[in-house]
């Protein structure tokens, strides 16, 4: 009975994971489709046309590059600003802490449609021209919080004694940061940047409100959905997904290898030592 129950939980867990990937599989499979008609929603015939001619449909690659550009700029600015806030939250005492926490938390819980609408209301009232700048402003605004949360978690997980040890070993504040704090937090910052980029690259709702005439990749997809999404879009999205998976899994494997190396029994190491 107990055996069945334990297996049952594992089976359910795997099924849920499979469920999470079903739509992605559909997207990937349909990237090899030659649709019958303009809507690429049901399987017709195998073809690699989309993969060999990625930019074959006007506007696809252009919007893709716009999204990459916006994503990169957003990631750089938001990662810097968010990391600074995370350090302040963990390492410094200041007035207005709960207000600060709230102002960081709320963007993560506000529906995108409300954020998009309110920001548009601001730009309209200021008669600020909509375009790539307004999209970037918006993206930085909603990514900062996620960066703060990610970097903060890493910082909090760091043993404060490591920094004390650095100070004890003749490292001043700068040297402590450069040789100890930063190298230890860097993986967290890199992870936060990756998250920031994926949030920006994939954002549709807020961008749509504040884009003006600029067409990002998601906005292109949205527009295309009415008249049929080109197969190239599926191919590009599959590519992005695979690239992200490669990055994430590589880091996972590297850290797993590292942990694996530690699993050598300590006695084996002791034995390698000449003892007095």
């Amino acid at each position: 009975m107990r055996w069945i129950r334990q297996r049952l939980l594992g089976v359910i867990a795997v099924l849920v994971l499979v469920y999470l990937f079903i739509p992605i599989a559909v997207v990937a499979v349909l990237s090899f489709n030659k649709p019958d008609g303009k809507y690429n929603i049901s399987w017709n015939q195998f073809s690699i046309d989309a993969w060999t001619n990625l930019c074959g449909v006007p506007g696809v690659c252009g919007s893709f590059m716009v999204s990459i550009r916006i994503g990169v700029i957003t990631t750089i600015v938001a990662t810097i600003l968010g990391t600074m806030i995370a350090f302040a939250l963990v390492r410094y005492r200041f007035r207005g802490r709960s207000t600060t926490n709230l102002l960081i938390f709320l963007p993560m819980t506000t529906p995108e449609v409300v954020m998009g609408a309110s920001l548009l209301a601001l730009f309209l009232n200021l008669r600020f021209p909509l375009g790539e700048t307004t999209i970037i402003i918006a993206h930085i605004m909603f990514t900062i919080s996620f960066i703060v949360v990610t970097v903060k978690a890493r910082l909090q997980g760091m043993d404060p004694r490591l920094e004390e040890a650095a100070r004890d070993l003749y490292a001043g504040p700068r040297a402590t940061f450069r040789y100890v704090t930063f190298p230890l937090v860097a993986p967290g910052i890199a992870g936060a940047a990756l998250l920031g980029f994926s949030l920006s690259f994939d954002d549709f709702i807020i961008s749509f409100f504040n884009a003006g005439t600029v067409v990002t990749f998601p906005i292109y997809i949205w527009g295309a959905a009415q008249r049929g999404i080109p197969v190239q879009v599926n191919a590009l999205a599959t590519m992005v997904f695979l690239a992200a998976m490669v990055i994430v899994l590589t880091t996972q494997v590297v850290s797993y290898r590292r942990r694996k190396a530690l699993q050598l029994p300590p006695q084996a190491l002791e034995a390698a030592l000449p003892r007095s």
Binding site: A165, D168, L169, Y170, G172, L184, L273
Partner: protein, 383 residues
């Protein structure tokens, strides 16, 4: 060994050192001299202020008042990275992103010292970790990490090496091994070691001077054997080893011997072994100093010995010794350790017995019944 040093080491002097967190004084007007080159242990229960004291010496905590000096040089206001003091941190705080070599080289590199390679290699030899130089800390066992932490601090040739519960994370067997190891290293380099611990056995094994701390103050300080044989406060008598304590009052004195009445029984204590100023005296005796005999043998009690009747309520055989709990006529439990050298019968539970011990082993402490109860409660809660 290149790590040993020609330069003269100087005493560490703490004067009226106080640290308050809010209204609570973690360290309270502490004045203390740690002799140069000694292995000094600061012993106390958790929360007694010993770690705070250490952190103030390291420069990681700022004193509320008082001064810290090495010889004549006042270091109270120096930042941690400016002090000729290094720390072996609790759970080591080895930099996980640097290998063993770079961990040990860290302080030298920050100070831009020359011949880093040679010095690090020599230091790794001293702690017997030469082959481990290019491993990451997490690939080492607990004992090895501990030695890296010592090497990383010692290589800077500090005037004082601070050790914050350095063996706390190790298992019992390894801890014993490391105690001997640390003592060997200390002898070899001759640096002053200040060692913070809550483990009285560890303090006694390693240190040449032990200071017992309680509530931010030093209760007693001296050579481990002296403190053990002649504790001067109820706290020390209970914290460092075990003691049987009987509250009583002074009834007279003949020559060197003070007479004390406790629960209607007469006890003698040497005036030189009594630290109580008033007539209220607590009589103390260590469990292993007591001899336990069947009550029928009471004539065999040597003249002048303190003696006490009771009934055995518990016997436990621990190999090296047998531990008895004996209930006195007024209901107090007395602990007795008897070495297992006697051939023949041991006393059994329920046996009426007589306990006796020499006044030479008896000590007198200031305080009364209430102090005994309070201390017992504190110790039960704290350690």
């Amino acid at each position: 060994m290149s790590a040993s040093r020609g330069r003269n080491v100087e005493d560490l002097n703490l004067r009226n050192l106080t640290k308050k967190f809010g209204d609570v004084a973690a360290v309270d007007d502490l004045t203390l001299t740690v002799p140069a080159g000694s292995f000094f242990a600061l012993l106390g229960a958790s929360g007694c202020g010993k770690t705070t004291t250490l952190r103030m010496v390291a420069g990681l905590e700022e004193p509320t008042s008082g001064t810290i000096a090495i010889g004549d040089q006042d270091i109270t206001r120096l930042r941690a990275f400016q002090r000729p003091v290094n720390t072996v941190f609790q759970s080591y705080a080895l930099f996980p992103h640097l290998d063993i070599f770079e961990n040990v080289a860290f302080g030298l590199r920050r100070r831009k010292v020359k011949n880093v390679d040679q010095k690090v290699n020599a230091m790794l030899e001293l702690v017997e970790l030469g082959p481990m130089a290019r491993r990451k800390p997490s690939q080492l066992s607990g004992g090895q990490q501990q030695r890296v932490a010592v090497a990383r601090a010692l290589i800077n040739e500090p005037d004082v090496l601070l050790l914050d519960e350095p063996l706390g994370a190790l298992d019992l067997k390894l801890r014993r091994q490391m105690q001997i190891e640390l003592k060997r290293i200390q002898m070899e380099v001759g640096t002053t070691f200040v060692h913070v611990t809550h483990d009285q056995e560890e303090a006694m094994t390693m240190a040449d001077t032990v200071a017992v701390m309680n509530k931010g103050r030093i209760e007693q300080m001296g050579h481990p054997a002296d403190i053990y044989e002649l504790p001067q406060t109820v706290f020390v008598a209970n914290f460092l080893g075990q003691s049987n304590l009987f509250a009583g009052s002074r009834t007279g004195q003949s020559g060197e011997v003070i007479m004390v009445d406790s629960h209607g029984m007469k006890f003698s204590v040497l005036a030189s072994r009594n630290s109580a100023m008033s007539d209220e005296i607590i009589i103390g005796i260590r469990p292993e100093k007591i001899v336990v005999r069947d009550l029928v043998d009471q004539d065999a009690v040597p003249a002048g010995h303190n003696a006490l009747e009771g009934r055995v309520t518990d016997v436990s055989y621990t190999g090296v010794s047998t531990q008895y709990v004996v209930e006195t006529l007024w209901g107090q439990d007395v602990t007795v350790f008897e070495q297992n050298v006697i051939v023949g019968d041991r006393c059994d539970v329920g046996d009426p017995v007589i306990l006796h011990w020499s006044p030479e082993h008896t000590f007198g402490l200031a305080g009364g019944e209430t102090l005994l109860h309070k201390t017992a409660q504190v110790l039960a809660a704290g350690v």
